[in-house]
């Protein structure tokens, strides 16, 4: 089983050093909370981990392979949902979801899309344009991918932001299932949400 190994990561944005010397490993079933103040570099860390941002120093390995090179296996194994939802306002919720899953190389059959929308309680909005949804509904539409994805590593940037308590509970339950099935998750969050996992790490970026 592949695991995520992070060694001596440093990140510079503009002229500012956001963080340095961040190292950790994440194994099957493990959850990592990334904590820190606004602007501490939580999102930048996630963007490095998913391979969008090249770190100033350090390495990220998945199953012994560097993730910054054209690592197709890592792309298939990982899923990143940023604070941007990645949804098109002019497409419907189900059209958005179908394309997003298609892009990620996942099964985008109608049944799966419907099941995912059901899980996040957006079934009634399946054919509404995303532009007409509220912030929380958009977030849920974006997070619906978690019910389709086969990715083992989830990188979620502020997944609980804009969600109501019921939705937070639904998401926490989905995370629990994912971790129990041997998945891994890294979340940045300001809210302390109780998620059952075998091993919970915390990483504080100062």
């Amino acid at each position: 089983m592949s695991k995520l190994t992070v060694e001596h990561l440093a990140c510079v944005r503009g002229d500012r050093l956001l963080f340095k010397n961040i190292s950790f490993t994440l194994d099957a079933g493990e959850l990592l909370y990334v904590l820190g103040d606004n602007g501490a570099g939580k999102s930048s860390l996630l963007r490095i981990l998913c391979g969008i941002l090249i770190p100033e120093q350090g390495r990220v390995h998945w199953g012994g392979q560097d993730v910054s090179k054209d690592n197709e296996q890592y792309r298939l194994d990982s899923l990143f949902i940023s604070h941007l939802n990645g949804l098109k306002d002019d497409l419907s919720v189900s059209e958005n979801l179908r394309f997003a899953t298609y892009l990620a190389g996942e099964d985008n059959q109608e049944v799966n899309v419907n099941r995912a929308l059901d899980a996040v309680k957006l079934q009634a909005y399946a054919h509404e344009r995303v532009g007409s949804l509220s912030q929380g509904q958009r977030r849920r539409a974006s997070l619906a991918r978690l019910w389709i994805s086969r990715a083992r590593l989830w990188l979620l940037d502020e997944p609980f932001a804009a969600l109501d308590t019921a939705s937070i509970a639904i998401l926490a339950e989905r995370l629990r299932q994912h971790l129990q099935a041997g998945g891994m998750a890294i979340l940045t969050t300001h809210q302390q949400v109780d998620i059952q996992a075998a091993v919970v790490h915390q990483l504080k970026i100062a």
Binding site: I52, I54, R75, F80, G86, K88, D90, L91, A104
Partner: protein, 222 residues
């Protein structure tokens, strides 16, 4: 691989249909610019006929330029682009799909409208056909080269003004060969060489542009 290409073209076409005003704007711009020249200069039919190849090509070029920022700006702003960048498929392939969709939406309508404007300028017969054929072969190159510029100016301040400065000089060969073909045809000369050169421009940009655009997009996303 072909499947994702079809899927992304379909998505962009669907988006264009839902935002048809943007497409119409480009077309109207093309017609307006092309119609300004007879108003500003000598409306003598002979003069107009001589002016036609250059005016129509420059108008098409400017209209194409107007539509360029839209290729990536929307996807960049809403996070779709970063999802494409971390997709298992090569980014250059996705970019190629987006460029093709841009051509279908923004350039093909110009090609289809060109004969009408050509008639306005008194072009008939072979020169008119040559104009359309040259635009058909030349505009894909405009989309391909334009995508590099659009990617390079993405997210930067003043990108709107920088884009034309960056892209227009690169459009010069297409302009020369494209308008040249029509001029040659008007003079009753052989046009084959012009089309071969336009084809060469197309093939060269087809090889280089998707890759260069993908590199520029990755830099913009950092």
């Amino acid at each position: 691989m072909a499947a994702i290409l079809i899927e992304i073209v379909r998505r962009d076409l669907l988006l264009a249909v839902r935002r048809s005003a943007d497409v119409a704007t480009v077309l109207i711009f093309f017609v307006v610019v092309a119609s300004l020249f007879p108003l500003a200069g000598n409306p003598d039919p002979v003069v107009l006929r001589n002016l036609a190849p250059g005016v129509l090509w420059v108008s098409a070029l400017l209209a194409c330029l107007l539509s360029l920022p839209r290729i990536f700006a929307g996807d960049y702003a809403d996070g779709s682009l970063e999802q494409m960048a971390i997709a298992p498929q090569p980014l250059s392939l996705l970019v190629l799909g987006k460029i093709f969709a841009h051509w279908l939406v923004s350039a093909l309508p110009l090609v289809l409208l060109a004969p009408l404007l050509g008639l306005q300028y008194g072009l008939q017969g072979e020169p008119l056909l040559v104009l359309v054929a040259a635009l058909l072969l030349g505009t894909p190159t405009l989309s391909l080269i334009g995508a590099i510029g659009a990617a390079l100016t993405l997210g930067g301040r003043g990108g709107g003004a920088l884009l034309p400065v960056l892209v227009l000089p690169l459009y010069i060969p297409v302009l020369i060969f494209g308008a040249g073909a029509v001029v040659a045809s008007q003079a009753g000369l052989e046009v084959r060489a012009y089309f071969l050169l336009l084809g060469a421009c197309f093939l060269l940009s087809l090889v280089v542009a998707p890759w260069a655009t993908a590199v520029a997009l990755r830099i913009a996303l950092e």
